[in-house]
Amino acid sequence: MKEVKLFLGPQHPGMHGNYSVHMYVDGDMIKKARPTPGFLHRGFEKLMERRLWMGNLALIPRICVVEPDINEMVYAMGIEALAGVEVPERAHWIRMMILELGRLAIHMMAIGGIGGPTGMYTATYWGIAQRDLILDLFEKITGARIYHMYIVPGGVRKDLPEGILEDVTKVLDQLEKNLPEYEELILRHPIIHARIKDNIMLPESVVWELGVTGIGMRSATGTENDLRKVKPYARYDQVEFDVPTATYSDALTRMQLKYQEMHQSIRIIRQVMEKMPKEGPVRTNFSAGSALRFTVPEGMVYTAVESSRGEYGYFIVSDGKEQPYRIAVRGASYPQGLLGIEKYLTGYRIDDASIWMDTMGVCSPEIDR
């Protein structure tokens, strides 16, 4: 049969974000696939060299649109490490709460996202609606729905508003009540099972070859390779949580791990609210002189946090001036989004390509930057 060249994306409802996979297909079998990134390329790494350290705060959340808080966290951690600043105790706990709320939001988005390629739009509607409640919490805490710019070098921008803990508890209670229903409807649904079970496999050897981290790695290797456990930042060493793992990584397993991680995130947030110091400073002012034009001592550092897709890191180089000398971004979905698609999408069917994008968690803006 003749091979046909097919463009999946950038303008395609099954494609998450502005990303494209071009492939040669035989029937509906993918013979050869090539990822095409760059549609969202804005030149962040260049722009960040041109902005002040403080001005970059507005820029960095936009690198990963669906999960912006991790950007702020790695940036702040990097500057704090270079400048040797101690973050106030309360700020650590607030940061953890924000990060875990962000993780809940993106996992809800992923559960909603699986509705698109599998044709079960109920999941989309439910997931997105549930995520919106978390965005409302963000709005109360930080003032913005998507880009919060809340975690700043030296702490967090402002203290939590009054009565927010009750609101968070309310949302968590409601989410916890709904989660079994989501599992019943989405993860045990025959349609979803037929489409994503034993599909888009990720063997352990491929994990080590590509360098996949996060849920992809944990679902294939059965190891608790989570940066929150291996290399705890903030106060993750003072809360109890489990890292869900599996040894058989198909699309369904990865969705189930996302689902289980949501339970753990809820557990972490509840502990944070309990153990957090009730009052105290939330921000260290470490700059001499103007707060907007502070300088960072010379040096280079790599900081990484566990995002929903894996290790997300910034490599920050400072030459002691008011602007960073170089910042390199390690997008967590770089391995599975580029080399993974090129090498391991062959042999699947056309409609499975978007399941790859969703369950591997390919986030195009962080690849393109």
């Binding site: 260049k46 360098g211 990484a304 290790e311 890191g313 180089v317 390690r330």
Partner: protein
């Protein structure tokens, strides 16, 4: 933990004949090597547990006339990040691919070629464009590239007329 860690670093220093430098962050170390020794170092590190390559990146030290390649490795067993650094000549930046040690590096090398113009011998695809399309200037992440000038020459900007209406308010008692 710390004791075994320092033992481990001593073994590393002895075997590789390099100095392991501390970094500002915890569980993170630097190794500076000549660019001819990078592959040997990486192969050794991969053997001792640094199975994951997190990032391959480049810095443009324009005043020294050098490019610095950084390879960030991660050992999941003890959570150590190892940053292997090497200097390349800025005039004629050439390096041999590390894809035979870390296959995941293939797209990072392509990106570094696109953004810095470093050539990677042995990587058959590194010269293909990745993020940019029809790029017609020097590699954009080099320090002497001015994005503002490029943007001004290519993309017209909206002109905002700065008209401030003044209105005289008479105060009457």
């Amino acid at each position: 933990m710390t004791n075994s860690m320092s033992n481990w670093i001593e073994t590393l220093e002895k075997d590789l004949g390099v100095e392991v430098l501390d970094s500002p962050a915890k569980l993170q170390y630097f190794i500076d090597v000549e660019h001819t020794n990078v592959h040997q170092t990486l192969a050794y590190l991969r053997h001792v547990g640094f199975t994951q390559m997190s990032l391959l990146s480049c810095i443009d030290w324009i005043e020294q006339g050098k490019f610095q390649l950084i390879c960030i490795l991660m050992n999941w067993e003890n959570g150590v990040h190892m940053l292997v650094r090497t200097m390349l000549d800025r005039e004629n930046p050439e390096f041999t691919t590390i894809t035979d040690i870390y296959p995941g590096a293939v797209y990072y090398e392509r990106e570094i070629h696109e953004f810095f113009g470093v050539h990677f011998r042995g990587n058959p695809t590194y010269q293909k464009p990745l993020f940019l399309e029809r790029w017609d200037d020097m590699p954009p992440l080099r320090k002497d590239f001015d994005p503002q000038a490029y943007s001004d020459s290519k993309f017209p900007r909206r002109e905002h007329p700065h008209v401030f209406k003044t209105k005289v308010v008479e105060v009457t008692e």
